[in-house]
Amino acid sequence: MRDNLTVAAGTLLDVQKLRAEFPILQTTVYGKPLVYLDNAATTQKPQRVIDAITGYYSEYNSNVHRGVHYLSQKATAAHEESRHKVAAFINAPHVHEVIFTRGTTDGINIIASSFGRKFLKEGDSILISAIEHHSNIVPWQMICEDRGANLKVIPVNNKGELIMDSLDDLLDETVKLVAVTYVSNTLGTVNPVKEIIERAHQKSIPVLVDAAQAVQHIQLDVQELDADFVVFSGHKMYGPTGIGVLYGKEAWLNELPPYQGGGDMIKSVSFKKTTYNELPLKFEAGTPSIAETIALGVAVDYLQEIGIANIQETEHQLYAYAVDALKTIDGLRFIGEAKNRAASISFLINDIHPFDLGEILDKQGIAVRTGHHCTEPIMQHFNIPGTVRASIAFYNTQEEIDQLVAGIKRAVTMLS
């Protein structure tokens, strides 16, 4: 399920050992051990990430950047160190190309607004794909409407793969930016983003990569991809809520107008003339999410320690196991059967409503997600109201997949 990925040879992780560091994985739901298969919505947190937050608030909570006092210096140093960690993690050439955001959605909105206001004119267009999350659709719809521009869409085939042949026609001279997800949160499809970037760059069109479902599963090297903008969320990569990252090439970020105004993003303010700050602060107005950036840094350390290549290998095997196991269920059909897939598996069973199935699974302690997963257009493509989605993380086990399959079988009996 990863033919065209360049995978560093990873080794299988000792999952049982790693699970021990996740407090929530030790809990029960309705008296049954929690089987958490909703990792695409958000991942659970290892103890050290939680401890980083507790430690910050208990030992050195302070506002950053402008303080002379000890706590402020300590908080500032930790906050900025996280930026270095993230930069190293994604191999950003410059630390100041890492902008802290509230999450993927925030990052996309920043670019949609700042890029759109500067570069989009009537008749221009933005190119997205048919399998995007609402967060990578609506911001573009909004700015396109504002500027009189058009939203164009890379179509998808019935396996859930982008129809790459259409790309050359779509990438016409009206296109000012391509925004595409690396991994689909609904279908699990891993898009050939490197190829998309190459082909867009041939026509000098910049590309934004929504890596919300990639950065925790796949080695992400912004230089190797040559991506112009990359966005992702802390809470989906074992970090806290309320924090995300926008990577942008220095040249682009310097050219774009700032997004929000306020403290920190300015060099000097007067009622007559206000000068904006340099990167990264130009895009970080107001008090940052300090506890969150620090804890995100710890999550990145954690991922570096266990190794993304190893995570990728471990998850790849579990994914294949899950697909095989689910195939044993009568009437089950997968929604999304792309050649390259990761993390998320969507399916339906006969005419059972996903909501019913999800509810009966829940009562057995199994957490999956049901519905459109914030990707309504792809539901419309398949003409379905929603799917049941199981999404894995490296800490999931084959036993948990077995429980999922048994749980589904039990639910099907009840619901048929």
């Binding site: 309705y30 059972i352 409503h353 909501f355 019913d356 509810e359 009966i360 829940d362 009562k363 049901t370 519905g371 109201p385 009840m414 619901l415």
Partner: protein, 142 residues
């Protein structure tokens, strides 16, 4: 049966079950008893908002009483609709509008249902009460 009697009966039925599985099977079974809405009434207007699954509800006014038919694309939802319809269908608008609905709380359904479901259930009750109020004022105006 009065609205109160029907509620008490549902509460009694539920007390028989210890297991969540049995409760769900009972609910699903109730769904199968739901008086079916005619296809022509499955319109967008008759869809109740606030449910993750779709619910259509239709009211007929007959001999001073309101009768409800309904459907849902999800079987658990259908069971819940069925309970509400069983409790309230066949009563006068005034009885329905004035009814004190306590069975949901008594059987602890709200604790078991997802907030999405609870909201759906509340939306459903609200819709039925609105029908009742509408017919009541219509009756008064005559």
């Amino acid at each position: 049966m009065t609205i109160q009697e029907r509620q008490d009966q549902i509460i009694e039925d539920f007390e028989m079950f210890d297991e969540w599985m049995d409760k769900y099977e009972y609910i699903i079974q109730l769904g199968k008893d739901l008086p079916q809405i005619e296809e022509q009434y499955k319109t967008a207007d008759n869809i109740i908002k606030g449910c993750q699954s779709k619910v259509w509800l239709h009211a007929d006014y007959l001999d001073g009483k309101l009768f409800f038919t309904a459907d849902s694309d999800a079987v658990i939802t259908k069971g819940l609709v069925s309970m509400v319809v069983q409790v309230l269908s066949g009563h006068t608008p005034k009885e329905i509008a004035d009814a004190n609905i306590y069975f949901i709380e008594k059987i602890g359904l709200q604790n078991h249902l997802s907030p999405t479901r609870s909201n759906g259930l509340l939306a459903m009750l609200k819709q039925i009460k609105m029908y009742a109020v509408a017919y009541q004022s219509q009756a008064l105006n005559k």
